[in-house]
């Protein structure tokens, strides 16, 4: 049953050292505010799952929260590489990380299987591709009717998933709309689910019946954090801050610059700052 609480409390109650955790959002609705709160609370040894680690995991990795990263595309979308993640992989700074690398199809199917309560996902994938030689979590099953060999990967079952959404209502039902990505699956696959929202409304009576609504009893905690996806965007609220993505390429290129930026913009602030960040967009 969804509990309305501050982001600080929601993160403190639901994210523990050593957890396997997904912060999902596919370009749209990336839960940056929740990640910053995790950084402030100094969680350690996390296994981070995310299709595109993106700036959000670049920051968490650079701050030393991650032990393992399970991912399928480690780029700054439309800009370039993820320099903090590279530094951790290539130079073990600030610590060594393990990587478990998949394709997008495998990751999406693994979330789907997790939401569906299955132990593994079965799909047509990785044919001729090199990842199955370097990732022991890629196996196969044989179709008992055609004999075709299909790829199999373990289902994602995070201890906790964080997503950002447009709205919750007073009962705690959550609306996600626009590019919905893998958020529904990430939430349903997890043992605990924390959602930050732009807005809390009285009810959802006027919504079209087929929209992506997560009932309150699938959600553990809801925190009201306007702007909580910045520099990602929230459809219907504010656009993507493309300039911030470009700027990140410079900030993340240098360890000292990164450290200074994180202190000023993450460690020394609170979730309320996100609302002001999107005001001018």
């Amino acid at each position: 049953m969804a509990k309305f609480q501050s982001l600080k409390d929601a993160v403190a109650e639901n994210l523990r050292d050593g957890d396997t955790v997904a912060f999902e959002g596919f370009t749209h609705l990336i839960p940056h505010a929740a990640a910053h709160e995790a950084i402030r609370q100094g969680r350690r040894d996390l296994t981070l799952i995310r299709m595109t680690p993106d700036i959000i995991y670049d920051q968490m990795i650079g701050m030393g929260l991650a032990k393992t990263v399970i991912f399928s595309y480690a780029g700054n979308p439309g800009v370039g590489l993820l320099r903090r993640m590279r530094d951790a992989i290539e130079n073990e700074w600030p610590r060594a990380i393990e990587t478990v690398e998949h394709s997008h199809a495998a990751m999406a199917n693994a979330y789907e299987a997790g939401a569906a309560g299955l132990p593994c996902a079965v799909f047509r994938g990785y044919r001729g591709a090199g990842l199955k030689d370097v990732n022991p979590a890629i196996k196969s099953v044989t179709c008992p009717f055609t004999g075709e060999e299909l790829a199999a990967v373990p289902a994602h079952r995070p201890d906790v998933s964080f997503i950002h959404a447009q709205k919750a209502n007073r009962r705690g039902d959550v609306l996600v709309e626009g590019i919905v990505g893998v958020q529904k699956e990430a939430l349903l696959a997890a043992k605990r689910a924390v959602v930050t929202v732009e807005e809390i409304v009285e009810d959802f009576d006027d919504l079209h019946p087929n929209l992506c609504v997560l009932p309150h009893w699938t959600v553990t905690a809801i925190a009201h954090v306007p702007g909580g996806a910045h520099p990602s965007y929230t459809h219907g609220y504010y656009p993507r801050d493309n300039a911030a993505y470009l700027e990140w390429d410079k900030i993340s290129a240098d360890r000292d610059l990164f450290t200074t930026w994180m202190k000023a913009n993450v460690l020394d602030v609170s979730p309320e700052v996100f609302a002001s960040r999107v005001e001018a967009l």
């Binding site: 595309y73 394709s103 994938g125 044919r127 590019i179 992506c212 993507r240 493309n242």
Partner: protein, 259 residues
């Protein structure tokens, strides 16, 4: 003839390879520009799909990411990412998939994962994203890249996605029924796989390009088809469409930063 850059020629040559009936799985960068130029010129009804789940999009400006809001706002429908990969890509509904490459070999095999060994990479690249399954599930694959000897190599460091493998019938031997790479569009030339060996062969060079230019920027010994053609230069309509699109994009994405 209006003057044009090699990159403009590459983008326009790629756009010409697309038709009105195509359903394209679009990447970011040159493929996105090519697909949208096609849509704005000779292929108004082409269907563009971005892996963020946006089907049949018609963005006014090029997206910076594959999940920009405008892709959703202009789409026929927006589906979840698992559905995109299951029903639409794996379902065999995509006619053309575009792929780029950090390293490419003569058989259309692609590396975007690592330079150096996988466990101790010299450069950790972004990785495959959708590419491993795009390469085998789309009916055919177009590859775009700028020519350079460090990109077009004899042997790639990692098989991010499978092209024609060792060439010949290697795809069929793996049970893959799609065509794989059928066209390589570079800033200098158009390449098509040899029907038998599947080695990429230059079939057309862009205006002003010489065989030496092509060989000097390619890490393997280049094969040229009998009767290499000259790629027609970009028309005024094509160039204007591309440049207008890029100017609109520049204005839209150059917006101010959040506080």
């Amino acid at each position: 003839m209006m003057p044009f850059t090699p990159t403009e020629m590459m983008t326009i040559a790629a756009s010409r390879a697309l038709s009105n009936d195509d359903v394209c799985f679009v990447g970011i960068g040159a493929p996105s520009a090519a697909c949208n130029v096609a849509r704005l010129t000779h292929a108004p009804d082409i269907t563009l799909i971005y892996e963020s789940g946006t089907i049949g999009t018609a963005p006014e400006v090029l997206p910076l990411s594959i999940g920009d809001g405008e892709l959703c706002e202009t789409a026929v429908t927006t589906v979840s990412v698992p559905e995109m990969f299951r029903y639409w890509l794996q379902g065999g509904r995509i006619s053309v998939g575009f792929l780029g490459a950090a390293q490419l070999d003569r058989f259309g095999n692609i590396n975007t994962t690592v330079i150096g060994p996988y466990d101790k990479p010299k450069v950790r690249l972004p990785g495959g994203g959708g590419a491993p399954e795009i390469a085998t599930s789309c009916k055919e694959i177009f590859i775009t890249m700028k020519q350079a000897t460090r990109g077009m190599v004899e042997t790639i460091d990692f098989f991010t996605s499978f092209g024609h493998g060792e060439g010949g019938d290697h795809r069929q031997r793996l049970g893959i029924t799609t065509k794989g790479p059928t066209l390589l569009i570079t800033d200098l030339a158009l390449w098509r796989p040899d029907p038998q060996t599947k080695e990429f062969t230059v079939v057309s060079m862009h205006p002003g390009v010489t065989r030496e230019n092509v060989q000097d920027t390619c890490g393997w010994k280049v094969r040229f088809a009998d009767g290499v053609e000259e790629t027609p230069a970009p028309t005024e309509l094509e160039l204007t469409t591309l440049r207008d699109l890029q100017a609109r994009t520049q204005r839209a994405h150059g917006g101010k930063k959040g506080n």
